[in-house]
Symmetry: C2
Subunit: 137 residues, 2 copies
Amino acid sequence: MMFIEIDFNSDEAIYQQLCNQIIQGIATARIAQGDVLPSVRQLADEVGINMHTVNKAYSLLKQEGYVKVDRRKGAVISCSGQNKDEAKQIIRKDMTGILAQARCRGLTKEDIAELVNDIYNAFDEYDRVKEAGRPKV
Amino acid sequence: MMFIEIDFNSDEAIYQQLCNQIIQGIATARIAQGDVLPSVRQLADEVGINMHTVNKAYSLLKQEGYVKVDRRKGAVISCSGQNKDEAKQIIRKDMTGILAQARCRGLTKEDIAELVNDIYNAFDEYDRVKEAGRPKV
DNA sequence: CATCTGTTATATATAGTATATAACAGATGC
DNA sequence: GCATCTGTTATATACTATATATAACAGATG
């Protein structure tokens, strides 16, 4: 069922990779509002990692408002809680860091705009393909 | 001379904070092409951290192409080596992560465009203020 | 009641971070 | 030449973060 792939040679922590991929899964509508993530034990088995590592990722996602954990059902996707201004403020810091890097590397405002459009279109592209009934990757 | 400020309570590593702040310093033209960073020992004293921590930050900046280290002068700002396509590719991964977060939190393409413009203008704003001869923060 | 769920506790091994002390080679200025 | 600066390297230590392994508990399900 799952599209998670862990790079064990990455310098990014496994629980962070899990978080990021799940967030990208939501952004590309691979998983949607109301969907339930696998149980911590199930996903751990599936991916070949420890239960606690999955649990840490889920806890982080809960803390950041991407899922709500129900004892009965498990981790349910539920991202919408916050208002836009709050969301912008959260995004702003990371975005500032990246834009500083981009600028130092010679990218202009227009280059960034193009890149952002590109990525957003890729998100939508996946949505479209999914709607057409193609198999999930 | 320096605009570096370390948050010792942050969960971000000190050497990472150093890197980020120096990169942002370049983006806002607080420091420019050809300028020389303080020696590892000097900056370490100034900020109140260990020499090796500064050295690690400088090594990272060197590795990522932001400075060139000259045994005589020290760490010289020199960011321009790579072509745009290469730069875009480097930025793309981080940007994808942030945009996924932004989308999950309900931000639209337009919201992002506004945010990007905002941040870029803040960069330019600092440039303008600096040109006018205001004191450095 | 067996079996699933999240959650918590404890222990352990490994890696990353930050510090301290020390030394070396190259460059600079007196 | 010599003291003094530079980056660089080596070693050791303390602390924290990460990931794993076992184990147990309470609530919910069929």
